[in-house]
């Protein structure tokens, strides 16, 4: 196959991947086509269910803002994020310090090993 790349441990070919993706997609569509088919447009089936309340007109009222996404992840990694926030102080002198410190550590490692 002409557009295959080898890593020495395996190979990758986008077209073969697409072929198998197509095959699995065909199976998926086949199974879907065997499901229930009683959806009718324009009936109450088509309406948005918003806990029984009236659906707000503005999309801003129903969307989750980006800063609230992955709330749980942020909560779970809170200690790490506290440390990272402290690191990104926005103070140029701190950043200069990190740069010089990194340089010093690299030099030390270079000299020791």
């Amino acid at each position: 196959m002409s557009n295959t790349i080898f890593s020495g441990f395996g190979y990758w070919n986008a077209l073969i991947w697409l072929f198998f993706f197509g095959v699995s997609a065909a199976f998926a569509f086949y199974f879907i086509s065997h499901g229930r088919n009683d959806y009718r447009k324009g009936t109450p089936q088509d309406e948005i269910y918003y806990s029984g309340n009236a659906v707000p007109q503005d999309g801003a009222d129903v969307s989750v803002p980006a800063s609230a996404v992955y709330w749980g992840f942020k909560r779970a990694c809170a200690p790490l994020y506290a440390w990272l926030d402290k690191l990104h102080s926005g103070n140029g002198a701190d950043y200069m310090g990190y740069f010089l410190l990194t340089f010093a550590i690299i030099s030390l490692l270079m000299l020791i090993f």
Binding site: F9, A14, W17, A66, L80, Y95, F99, T102, L109, L111
Partner: protein, 519 residues
């Protein structure tokens, strides 16, 4: 004319920068034609160089000599003039920069249209292109420093282009402060080598470099400053600021400029130091920096809600992949068996990822710019449902996001896969970090896609329309390239990454191109 290509490559952006004030006084239309023509000519020049170098030729050009190939005038034993030297890796980098600059120019024509001060903008833009191209083309360390400075100074100006915004000024000022100290360190490093060896030509230095304390400290300086310039973890803090505050067309180019610093780091580690024992420590330092950048970069990216800042943090994590891959390559450099077993694959993966990264990150920054152009905000909290009004931008964002997250069958997957498959041979934790990074990358781009493009339409965004055709062309160029590389990675890996990696390993070839038969 073909022999003069390396000089033309630098002469075109210089001419563009110097002529810009005149061209801008001729009116809007001629200004845009000028801007695009010079970018296109630079791109054509870069493609020609790329075709020549990827065939295995090393281009050498001596500035100011009676003959462009006269590297050793009057029977001297070492080169004295400014020498440009380009092998396959340089050719690839030049191509990346030129593509990014052309796409950025196409994008900027519409994006910057409503602002004043464009003659300065275009001048600085071409100077930035010149700096980045020069860093990739030069064969001499002092000129490398000069080009680093040209590109840095141009990027200070461009980052602060919207000078009525305090954030822009702040970002530019911080970058300037850090970068100047870094540049001094680079100058000290070059000066130290010059003091000891009386040469600044990379080939000449490589032929006589010894092992010693001085060389080790100089290598530490080079690693620190160039890793800082491409945004490795503990020294990355300037990068999200600058990337998010610069106009988007420029950010697309800045991505490639930071890759030019990465190129310099590789040139110094592989070509200048080669099998020098200092390189084993350097390899571990690169791997450590790479893993730290990958993980912490993406951890910061996940929680951002400013779209360009989020992408800026992703730049840090993507640079980590390349540092990791090239570190693995450097680690195996002095052992031919390991190099053939997995080191060379890692280098191919790193170089492949470098090209992919320049393309998809450029594309993503351009789509972020398109979002900003259409909605007037970079805050993801205020966006939503834009897929209906901006279908083209949505599709191109999906291509870029899928590529950067390493979703098959896109190009990012192929290059990351090469890195996973080779780095595990050193230690299994390395591909674990890389895979985790990839997952978190996908998570954060799902977040961007979901909050900006999907969801219910917001009334405040009702007047949003698709961006003008010039901006779409800029994004489209990069999207088409990404799709092409995704489906035909073998053309790229065997035709480009392979000769580039061989060029990096082949220290003797690089030296011989300058020193000729003398050595």
């Amino acid at each position: 004319m073909n022999q003069h290509l390396p000089a033309l490559l630098l002469a075109l952006p210089i001419g563009g920068a110097f002529l810009a004030p005149l061209a801008c006084s001729l009116g809007k239309k001629l200004r845009n034609i000028f801007y695009l023509t010079v970018s296109l000519l630079t791109l054509i020049c870069a493609v020609m160089i790329f075709l020549e170098t990827s065939a295995g030729k090393i281009l050498v050009y001596v500035m100011g000599a009676e003959n462009f190939a006269l590297t050793l005038p009057s029977g001297m034993a070492f080169p004295v003039r400014i020498i440009l030297e380009m092998d396959a890796f340089s050719g690839l980098m030049v191509l990346c920069v030129a593509i990014a600059s052309f796409a950025g120019a196409l994008f900027s024509v519409n994006y910057m249209d409503k602002f004043s001060g464009l003659k300065r903008f275009i001048s600085l833009y071409f100077l930035l292109v010149l700096g980045a191209l020069g860093m990739c083309a030069t064969g001499d360390l002092f000129n490398f420093f000069v080009f680093v400075e040209i590109s840095s100074i141009a990027s200070y100006g461009l980052a602060a282009f919207w000078r009525d915004k305090p954030e822009s000024i702040e970002a530019s000022f911080k970058y300037m402060m850090l970068s100047q100290v870094g540049a001094l360190l680079l100058l000290v490093a070059v000066g130290t080598l010059y003091g000891k060896y009386n040469a600044i030509n990379i080939g000449a230095l490589a032929s006589m470099l010894q092992t010693g304390v001085l060389e080790k400290i100089v290598l530490a300086m080079f690693i620190a400053i160039l890793a800082f310039k491409c945004g490795a973890f503990p020294m990355h803090a300037w990068l999200p600021d600058v990337y998010s505050e610069a106009p988007s067309g420029v950010t697309c180019l800045l991505v490639s400029v930071s890759q030019a610093s990465f190129y310099g780091l590789m040139r110094i580690c592989f070509t200048l130091y080669g099998t020098n024992p200092a390189n084993v420590t350097a390899a571990w330092i690169l791997i450590t920096l790479g893993c730290a950048s990958m993980f912490f970069g993406v951890m910061m990216a996940v929680i951002q809600h400013d779209v360009k800042r989020l992408m800026g943090y992703h730049s840090i994590s993507q640079v980590g992949y390349m540092l990791l891959a090239m570190g693995v390559g450097l680690y195996t450099l002095s052992d031919a068996v390991l190099l053939a077993e997995y080191g060379f694959t890692a280098m191919k993966g790193g170089i492949f990822h470098l090209f992919n990264y320049s393309m998809f990150k450029g594309l993503l920054f351009l789509t972020a710019g398109a979002l900003y152009y259409a909605t007037g905000t970079r805050d993801l909290d205020k966006m939503g449902g834009l897929a209906r009004s901006m279908p083209w931008t949505t599709v191109m964002f999906m291509i870029g996001a899928a590529a950067i997250s390493g979703l098959p069958p896109f190009s990012g997957f192929a290059s990351k896969w090469l890195i996973y498959e080779s780095s595990f041979a050193i230690h299994p934790i390395l591909p674990v970090v890389a895979l985790l990074t990839s997952i978190l990358t996908l998570a954060s781009f799902v977040k961007v896609f979901q909050t900006a493009f999907l969801g219910a339409s917001k009334i405040s965004l009702a007047p949003v329309r698709e961006v003008p055709v010039g901006m779409l062309c800029g994004m489209g160029l990069l999207s088409i390239l990404i799709l092409f590389v995704s489906f035909f990675p073998n053309i790229f890996v065997s035709g480009v990454a392979d000769p580039s990696a061989s060029g990096l390993i082949d220290q003797a070839g690089y030296i011989n191109a300058v020193l000729g038969g003398v050595k």
